[in-house]
Structures are given as structure tokens and as C-alpha cells.
Amino acid sequence: MILPLRLENVSFRDILKPLSLEIEAGPSTIILGANGAGKSVLMRIMHGLLAPSTGSVSWQGNDPGRSQAMVFQRPVMLRRSAYANVSYALKVAGVPAKERERLAAEALDEVGLRQIAHRPARVLSGGEQQRLALARAWALHPEVLFLDEPTANLDPGATREIETIIKAFDAAGTKIVMSTHNLGQARRLGDEVLYLHEGRIVERAPIERFFAQPGTPEARAFIKGELPWV
């Protein structure tokens, strides 16, 4: 178990103001906020891709290693087959060759890409590539999965497929931490909301309460402003 994740007085340049928070196992956490609010930076700090300017990030276990994975807005695939992309991730994670085959096949099955496992990953559609990115994460069976606006570039059909897979992660016991500015998606997938505004967490609330009675003027304005596009 690597959760809870603790951030203490974490700031990043002038993008994130010093903030402290704890991410516990269980409820899916949605990070909401306008463009430039600091959602991506916050997730990258949690995942370990960025070092905070001040403060500390600590997991329950000392080395979170492969127990956490991240899926980006634009997945980056290697110029090899879909299957090879998944088994590459497993190899890097130190999984023995025999295991890799089974885990990769399972993961591709889970996201519905088994049939095209041997196609080059780079020629897949945007939605398929994002599903492949999820398969790559699935194969590692992470305890925490960070998703940075995973459907921002996708059409509604592909978005639905991605959301189904994210729900499967949740059902399998993986803690979801996802940023989005799609309020409909936040409601469909989230249990709690972290609302970021200009580098500060101005509100943290269960999802129903956040939408029914937002506690801050910023959150109210955001929900009102965003709703027409849901």
C-alpha cells in the first residue's frame, strides 16, 4: 500500500501556491479547474514528474515505483506494435518475459484492443491510442492511476469507451486521480472534487455537494460558466 499520498506546503514557481493535501485510497478524485489553474502541474508533482519548488510529497511506502501510473492527454506510443508497447512497459517494470505475455494480452483484452494487438501503435486512431495507454497502465496493476484530461482530444464515442475503462480500473480497486474540465465527465466518474483556481485549492467536496451547493464564489462561477458545454 502506497496511499495515502501527502503533500505538505507544496508550491511550484508561481503556478501553484503553497498547498497541503492528502489523497486517500478509495473515492475517485477529480481535479477540476479552468485552463491554467494548475491541474496538470499538480498531477505531475503527485506522480513525481516534477519536483515541487517548495514543500514535500510523500507516500506511505517509501518507493511508490510502479504502484502508480499516469495517462496523459496525448499518449506517446513507441514505433512498434500495440502489444509491444504494453510489454515494453512491463519489461521496464521488471516483469519476467513469461509473465509479460499473459499480462499484456489481458490488458489489451480489457481495453478491447486484442484484435489489433499486432498493428503498429502509431497508426491507431486517437481513441485507440488512448485505450492502448490505458492498457499499458492496466498491465502494471497500479494502486493509483493519474489521468490528465484523458479525453480532451477525443470525440464522444471514444470518450465513452475511455470512461468505461476508467470505471473498470475503479472497480478493480485502483485509486483514480483525474483532471478534467468536462463537468459531465466529473459527475460520471468522480466521488470527490478538488477545485483548483489560480494555483490554489479553493474547495474540496463530495461530488454531489460540489455541484448542488458549491461553497465558494469561484466554484459557483466555474460550474455556471462550464455547464453550457456539458
Partner: protein
């Protein structure tokens, strides 16, 4: 002229020397360029400037430098390599290495911007990441190899100095062209020039086809 066996011996030696040099320079230069692209170390900018500057190395200067190294009184004189095809391969490798390393460095650095977060997220670090990117963009790196091959097959100064242009031993196309021109045998020089250009063109066409096919296949 084309049925002269000596001609084909010269062509074969030219190809053997230049292709060997490019192969060695590729094996060393690609990982070197990738490491510089991805690595963060003091003096990195200076190394990049130096590497780029070395692309314009004068072939006669490289020739002279290798000549001094390999000459009997030089530090590597005991190997007895001066005026052999091996010496020519060494000189051309030195000449081509900066070109391949510098171009690979630029390509890997550009690609690294796209790959870095994803690879670090997967737990790939340092040289491992550099090699993964290098392999992933291998088909675009063909251009760097071709630039190296163009340089090697066209240069005359280095092979002339360390090879000595010895008939039947170290005489290659460019040195023959230079020699025949100074002797006044312009038809032979011209003919060799045409053969040289045809070979370079054919190699480039083949590389281009491979690259195109690969890009269609792998995206």
C-alpha cells in the same frame, strides 16, 4: 574503360573503405549523440557547439592528424597501419563521426521533448531512455547516416594522405580522379566521377525507399 578490372577494384575498395567508416561511425556516433541529447552535465552546451563545429572538419587536417598518429615515429606507429586501407577507414571514421553524432543528437533531442514525460512515467531513465528513443526514430536517422556516407565517399584529402594513393592497394575513386586529372587523362577521371555519383545516388535511393516503407508501416 568499364571492362577494366582495375577500375572495379578501385570502386570496390572505395565502397569498402567508406561503408566501413560509416558503419563504425554510426555504431559510435548514434549512442554518443543520443547520450548528449538526453544527458544533463556541466559543459553540455560547449560539447554541442564543439560537435557541430567538428562537422566541418577539413579532411586534409584529419588526414594529417591520423598520419602523425600512425607514422612510424607516432604513438600508434608500431601497428604499421600507415598506407593501408585500415588507415583510410580510421581517417574517414574520424571525419564522419561528428556528422553522425551531431545530427543524431539534434534528432534525439527533438524527439525527446515528445517522449520524455511518458518514458519517465514508465520508469525509464537516462541512457535507457536515450537508446529507446534512438531505436524509435531509427528510420529518420537514416538521413544522418546518408550525410556521413556522402562526406566519406566524396572526400579525397584524408585518404590521399594516410593511404598514399598506392596503385592496387590504397587507390580509391576520389584519389584516382585527382591523379588522372593532374596527369591529363580527363576521360578516365570523368568516367570515374560518373560511376561515383551513380553509386552515391543508388545508395541514397535505396535508403529513401526503406525509410518511406518504414514510415508507412510504423507511422
Amino acid at each position: 574503360m568499364l571492362d577494366d578490372p582495375r577500375l572495379w577494384q578501385i570502386v570496390a575498395l572505395s565502397l569498402a573503405v567508406s561503408l566501413s567508416a560509416v558503419a563504425i561511425a554510426t555504431l559510435i556516433g548514434m549512442p554518443l549523440g543520443a547520450a548528449i541529447a538526453v544527458g544533463r552535465f556541466p559543459g553540455r552546451q560547449a560539447v554541442i557547439v564543439l560537435l557541430n563545429a567538428l562537422m566541418g572538419l577539413l579532411s586534409v587536417v584529419v588526414g594529417l592528424f591520423i598520419y602523425l598518429l600512425l607514422s612510424r615515429a607516432g604513438p600508434l606507429g608500431e601497428l604499421g597501419l600507415l598506407f593501408t586501407p585500415q588507415a583510410m577507414v580510421i581517417a574517414q571514421t574520424v571525419l564522419v563521426l561528428p556528422i553522425i553524432a551531431a545530427l543524431a543528437r539534434q534528432s534525439v533531442e527533438d524527439a525527446w521533448r515528445e517522449y520524455e514525460e511518458q518514458l519517465r512515467s514508465l520508469g525509464v531513465h537516462g541512457l535507457h531512455g536515450a537508446l529507446t528513443v534512438l531505436w524509435d526514430i531509427r528510420f529518420s536517422l537514416l538521413t544522418a547516416v546518408l550525410a556521413g556516407l556522402g562526406r566519406a565517399s566524396a572526400e579525397v584529402g584524408a585518404v590521399m594522405i594516410v593511404g598514399g594513393n598506392i596503385d592496387g592497394v590504397t587507390r580509391v575513386m576520389t584519389t584516382t580522379i585527382a591523379l588522372e586529372t593532374s596527369k591529363g587523362d580527363l576521360p578516365l577521371a570523368l568516367g570515374l566521377g560518373v560511376v561515383l555519383i551513380a553509386i552515391v545516388l543508388a545508395l541514397n535511393a535505396a535508403a529513401h525507399l526503406v525509410k518511406e516503407a518504414a514510415q508507412r508501416r510504423f507511422g
